[in-house]
Symmetry: C2
Subunit: 305 residues, 2 copies
């Protein structure tokens, strides 16, 4: 089964306490695809400017990602500048230049319209709706969003949420979206907005899945140094939706596996700047870390009566 | 096997977004004992003033807690006033009146000196050292501490740490103690200070055990409303150390069970003000929630090769 992602391909300038990079490959669709490509056929839909060095995506092409949906248009590629302090949970955005992304209006090809698994990365809700209008009969649709759209595009975002199966969202944004300080109540409010499945990303504290009212917790893989958290959330999404597409179903066992695969992939993504770690990552390394995640969370049945 | 706890018995005045109580039973030794008494014989050592209504502890006596180590002396009982905002992870202390606690100098009885499992609740490090000097040949010793002693009693606290088997500590305090922003590095630094076992309390994100370099994560039990977080950490400690004492060993399986039992007990403690929920709690309710914790964290072996 194949997965379609619509999002950004960008150049990032990132500064962390451990170093900095300028004009490094980034973007939600890029991180998502790098992760999902370990699991399933992936089609990427995004736009870049004429300044974009297309060879930056060679590693994705080699992993079988279908890049025919990447439009190259006149103008400059989306640029994001941000920095992180020692608390690596939160990025401070220094500047966002939408550039060619400002007029992005995804038109899906015949093949893309037939996608069975769809990930709407964090873009303008109107564009997410346009993609939902174009896909013919998806088996499973997933959306990511952010505080900016919760503040400024509540109606459009509400329509998106009413039409998707799953939302993947940061914890603070889940609380904001629901207007609830308690995460578990927030999840219930969000489920009332439409998505049957809610996945809350908690940064260094892992992720939380709510499926049919059942919760599942996965910790973040313990790392002694997080180098650059940029793209962790989209990498997580790629692992999760890639696993769902790979298995071709979204039963609870698959979703739980997907959350752990996503967490593991994200734990690699943050070990180097940009997509550098994802370029060299091998599936056997993912499997090894997945097994460690089992060891990290296992405990016996209570023997005290 | 029996456990000895040395700490405070106090009257708390607490305000949360959901209500307030004045002069309610509190104190680290109280919460610890209420939890540990489900698991093992518990001896409490603390001091209260003449204003203390000893019948407040009847429920502990009924559960078999040995209160012979509770000194009643002239003066007033330790008072703590605090409040919590909607972010229930952090208490704001409004006032602390040490009162009779100021001259607390625990003298252990013959029986108390023979305790095999010892929990040094968060009191002055000098007093913790005095207790360590008095116990004869404990099998397992555990210490809790706080930012105040890290700041003002670094030398004494360092000596305590060099002499105990386990430290149970809040995450922010672990980072402060170690001078490390990364929790996993902080744990390594703390292990170098002495304790072979480090347990990091992460509030709503659960707890993390480091034993012989292996990590274990337990989430907090999901609650739609946390009423009053006061005492959650000591309740957790009581469940953990109580489990160790009950099993009479501290192999990794026991420690993991103990962390989960502690998390479950703490999840009950926060459902009502003061110790109100602990007064009525039944062990069968703890077992049921423990089983839910297994369901909340279980995931399959990865089937994707």
């Amino acid at each position: 089964m194949s997965v379609l992602v619509v999002g950004s391909v960008a150049y990032d300038s990132v500064k962390t306490p451990f170093g900095e990079v300028d004009k490094a490959l980034g973007g939600s669709a890029t991180f998502f695809s790098a992760a999902a490509s370990f699991l399933t056929d992936t089609q990427l839909v995004a736009v870049v400017g004429e300044d974009f060095d297309i060879s930056d995506l060679d590693f994705l092409r080699e992993r079988g990602v279908d890049l025919s949906g990447l439009d190259v248009v006149a103008g400059e590629t989306f640029r994001w500048k941000g920095h992180y302090g020692y608390d690596l949970n939160e990025a401070k955005t220094l500047s966002t230049e939408l550039n060619v992304f400002e007029t992005f209006d995804p038109k899906l090809s015949e093949k893309q319209r037939k996608a069975e698994f769809v990930f709407l990365a964090n873009i303008l809700p109107e564009l997410q709706l346009s993609v939902l209008d174009q896909v013919e009969s998806p088996k499973f649709t997933v959306v990511d969003t952010m505080n900016l759209w919760i503040d400024t595009k509540a109606v459009e975002l509400g329509e998106v949420l009413s039409r998707v199966d799953m939302v993947v969202i940061n914890e603070s944004e889940a609380r904001q979206l629901a207007g609830e300080a308690n995460t578990f109540r927030a999840i219930e409010r969000i489920r009332e907005m439409g998505p049957k499945f809610v996945v809350v990303k908690r940064g260094e504290y892992g992720a939380l899945l709510s499926a049919h009212g059942n919760h599942f917790f996965a910790p973040a893989f313990p790392l002694e140094s997080v180098f650059d958290p940029t793209g962790a959330g989209d990498t997580f999404g790629g692992g999760l939706v890639g696993t769902i597409a790979r298995n071709g179903r979204f039963d609870e066992a698959t979703l739980r596996q997907g959350v752990v695969v996503g967490s593991v992939l994200a734990s690699f993504a943050v070990e180097k700047f940009s997509l550098d770690r994802m370029r060299t990552l091998k599936w056997s390394e993912v499997v090894a870390r997945y097994q460690k995640m089992q060891a990290l969370t296992r405990f016996d049945t209570l023997t005290i009566e």
